[in-house]
């Protein structure tokens, strides 16, 4: 089994507005992108299991071909709480 960090060129998170975070994974070439997409490994169920979050906290999880990327926006924990 290969680790995602060895397949991806970029793995990052960024806030998207005050109430959401996005996780972006970008691949260097179309072949690797296709391999990861077709593996069926990156799913909402996996994210829920890894981070212990309920399904309703998955805002979206999608493969975006033009950027050879997998993106996952999520609500920020503690959002609404003062910063």
């Amino acid at each position: 089994m290969t680790q995602l960090q060895h397949l991806a060129q970029v793995i990052r998170s960024k806030n998207s507005g005050p109430f959401e975070i996005t996780f972006d994974v970008m691949f260097a070439d179309a072949g690797t992108y296709r391999r990861v997409e077709e593996s069926g490994v990156l799913t909402p169920e996996l994210v829920c299991k890894l981070y212990g979050v309920p399904p309703e906290d998955i805002v979206a999880l999608l493969f975006f071909k033009p950027a050879l990327a997998f993106v996952h926006p999520a609500p920020r924990l503690g959002a609404g709480k003062h910063q």
Binding site: V10, G17, F19, D24, A69, H82
Partner: protein, 455 residues
């Protein structure tokens, strides 16, 4: 009808610094306008809550001096969106004051337009009562007190208020807009010059408002050449390049979705966009479609002061305590709640950030089965008054230092505190009280403008 126009964003945030050589390269390449975004909610609610600017006054002035010199050379306009950061009226006026000072010194004659984005709480109350406000993205449902507690409220203007000023005053040199949808000033300039397809200019604006962030490596100055059916992007630093991947990847930057981007007036659908390399550093983009919404909504932003805060910071190295730090801090919180009724009621809050364990990810941290060598603890208390926050924080810090725990061998104080005094008040804490979409009667309804001549 112009065939091509060139827009030069000099940097992704006004005040962050502009590389001079790259800027002049863009001016001399035939820029028809300089357009720059001056705002963001990324730094958090304190800017809007306390009415502060996102950059120091000196940084703003430094960037404006260079930009105004470039605009003066080619006699081209400058458009600024979300002046000052939060984009409140005071920031629009302070930005214009800075421009006025520079213009007088350099003998520039400028016609300046101000477009304001401040929203009165009465109006928000009214629309809330009539069910015309909904949360934006994952914001919580609005409560009446959120409106009452907001120190400032702005709405993100769309293209219409800026375009109106440009059309009514074709000789305007500078437009300083308050809080605006980031691509709106770009869209306004394109519409003024007859670019008809909103899919083209909204997509261009969405990328350009971040400057050359869409290049690799990420840069600042970029030139966009826009025509009816496509636009080209070229970074002005010869060592940076735009590639189809770098430009497409930028579409996902800080967005909920990379394919559908909602804004005032409609949604930009990027699913059909194409990114074609013209050479190894310039990309041609086309194919996005703008779908107008049946109801025009603007995004409201508001911030409120949630309390006053006091903090302490220090480290724990005792392995016996580090190994039980979660239960220790829970027990401390219980003890504090027993002493301070405000903690019981929720009127005050105490939180501990445990660096080395899960300080960064908190409850999301998947790695749980390890004991760190040491932990750094940042304790923070928020309360209605600074005095109360100080008192609770002092008790909390004393508790971390002296509270006993199971198997304790280090009985003389367990917290290494680098600073003196050990607790420090850090002032008001803000929260975003409004991040909601509100229906408007018309796109112009909330956004008045005025004209000023600087001679």
């Amino acid at each position: 009808m112009t065939t091509e126009i060139k827009i030069l964003p000099p940097v992704g945030m006004l005040g962050y610094g502009i590389p001079e050589a790259d800027f002049w390269r863009g001016i001399d390449a035939g820029a028809d306008a300089v357009v720059v975004d001056a705002g963001s909610t990324d730094p958090g609610p304190y800017l809007l809550g306390l009415g502060k600017m996102i950059v120091a006054a000196s940084a703003l002035e430094r960037d404006l001096r260079l930009i105004l010199a470039g605009c003066n050379k080619r006699k081209i306009p400058l458009l600024i969106g979300s002046a000052g950061g939060p984009g409140i009226g005071k920031h629009v006026d302070e930005t214009i004051e800075t421009i006025r000072r520079i213009a007088k010194e350099k003998s520039y004659r400028l016609k300046v337009a101000a477009v304001y984005a401040d929203v009165k709480p009465e109006l928000v109350r009214d629309r809330f009562a009539s069910g015309r406000i909904v949360p934006c993205a994952s914001a919580p449902a609005l409560k009446a007190e959120d409106i009452e507690e907001s120190t400032h409220i702005v709405a993100q203007m769309g293209v219409e208020p800026i375009l109106k000023v440009l059309r009514e005053h074709p000789d305007v040199n500078v437009v300083v807009a308050g809080r605006a949808y980031d691509p709106a000033p770009y869209a306004a300039f394109c519409m003024l010059h007859g670019i008809e397809d909103p899919g083209i200019f909204w997509h261009m604006g969405k990328i350009m408002e971040c400057g050359a962030n869409c290049a690799e490596p990420k840069g600042r100055v970029i030139l966009a050449t826009i025509r009816q059916d496509s636009f080209d992007l070229e970074p002005m630093n010869p060592l940076e390049r735009c590639t189809p991947l770098s430009v497409a990847a930028h579409t996902l930057y800080e967005k909920t979705r990379p394919d559908l981007l909602a804004g005032p007036g409609g949604v930009l659908d990027l699913t059909g966009a194409t990114y074609v390399p013209l050479n190894d550093r310039t990309v041609r983009v086309s194919g996005s479609v703008f779908r107008p919404s049946p109801v025009y909504q603007v995004k409201l932003e508001g911030a409120a002061i949630a309390g006053q805060r006091t903090i302490f910071v220090g480290g724990i190295r005792d392995p016996i305590l580090v190994g039980q730090i979660d239960t220790f801090l829970e027990a401390l919180k219980k003890r504090l709640a027993g002493v301070f009724p405000e903690l019981q009621s929720g009127a005050a809050q105490v939180d501990f950030h445990v660096y080395g364990k899960n300080g960064v990810m908190g409850a999301l941290e998947p790695e749980k089965d390890f004991v760190p060598l040491e932990v750094g603890i940042l304790g923070e208390v928020t309360a209605a008054t600074q005095d109360l926050a100080n008192a609770i924080c002092s008790s909390a810090r004393i508790g971390v230092l002296h509270m006993p725990y199971k198997g304790q061998m280090a009985t003389a104080g367990n917290f290494a505190i680098p600073l003196n005094p050990p607790e420090n008040p850090i002032g008001p804490v803000c929260r975003f009280s409004l991040y909601h979409l509100m229906e408007v009667e018309s796109p112009l309804e909330l956004f008045p403008s005025r004209i000023e001549e600087i001679a």
